[in-house]
């Protein structure tokens, strides 16, 4: 089987699983925070433009 590494299966799948999960989480948080701040800044600039 492709993911069967005998007695080292837990070592390898554990290492790779944790790495990919942490990297995916980091990328997701970066994108979500980036989008949230960008939206908030655009709304603030719009509000200040309206209010002069």
């Amino acid at each position: 089987m492709m993911f069967d590494f005998g007695k080292y299966t837990v070592t390898i799948l554990g290492s790779w699983g944790v790495t990919l999960a942490l990297l995916a989480g980091l990328i997701m948080l970066t994108l979500v925070k980036g989008a949230r701040v960008k939206r908030a800044l655009a709304a603030q600039e719009e509000r200040m433009k309206k209010n002069g």
Binding site: Y8, T11, G25, T30, L31, K33, L41
Partner: protein
């Protein structure tokens, strides 16, 4: 043209906005093939068996755990000496990436250590200095959040970064300083006699390049967010004062 032009937030936003799509493409083109090559298409190592596959996540993460702190040191020094806000924000933006890289290095090291050394953890010089580096990353991020005035936060985190650099360097060279540790010497060497066989080395280099590009991409994205957040905070303050 001077490099200091990029300390101007407008210039930085413009240049990084242009570079980001290219960086995303290059990251995908190096990281995905590097990881697939390392996981699926490398043979078993004579000494380590299938566990050699752990190096494709452990070594790049460990490499960048240290190098990101060095990058933070450089940008912190630029802030402390020349007072360029973008450099302080770049250091702040890099810290969570470095923290995640250090955590990956620690966890994958523990996974590898269990079958190879018979233990998940050992107070080995390199492991211990990596744990301290991880705590420095957490402390650095906490300090940024704890101080309201951004310039004071940048000053104090800059000083913390200088102190933490001792442990970043120790993490790199600990295996050379103290021979009693379990951790083996460096996996990477430019000396062909010293480094691992080409069949393992080539995908490893590709993966390290991929991790490097991922770091630069995330750094630019996060620095842009920090610049926007700083502007948002300034506008909110101006509105309150009006």
């Amino acid at each position: 043209m001077s490099i200091w032009e990029y300390a101007n937030p407008v210039k930085f936003m413009k240049t990084s906005g242009f570079l980001l799509p290219w960086l995303v493409g290059l990251t995908v083109l190096t990281l995905v093939p590097g990881l697939v090559w390392g996981f699926f298409f490398t043979p078993l190592a004579a000494e380590f068996g299938a566990t050699v596959k752990v190096i494709y996540v452990h070594v790049p993460a460990a490499t960048f755990a240290i190098n990101i702190w060095v990058m933070m040191l450089v940008t912190s020094l630029i802030w402390l000496i020349r007072r360029h806000h973008v450099s302080a924000l770049a250091a702040k933006a890099a810290a969570p990436i470095g923290m995640v890289m250090t955590l990956i290095a620690l966890i994958t090291g523990a996974f590898w250590g269990q079958p190879m050394w018979g233990t998940w953890w050992e107070w080995d010089p390199r492991l211990t200095s990596f744990l301290i580096l991880f705590l420095f990353y957490l402390g650095y991020m906490a300090l940024w959040e704890a101080i309201e005035n951004p310039d004071t936060a940048a000053d104090l985190t800059g000083v913390l970064c200088l102190v933490g650099s001792v442990f970043a360097l120790l993490s790199r060279y600990a295996a050379m300083f103290w021979n009693q540790g379990l951790h083996q010497g460096s996996t990477l060497s430019l000396d062909k006699e010293e480094h691992i066989a080409d069949v393992f080395w080539q995908p490893l280099v590709l993966t390290i390049v991929g991790f490097g590009l991922l770091f630069v991409t995330l750094l630019l994205l996060r620095t842009r967010t920090e610049i926007r957040a700083r502007r948002l905070s300034a506008l909110e303050q101006r509105e309150r004062m009006a």
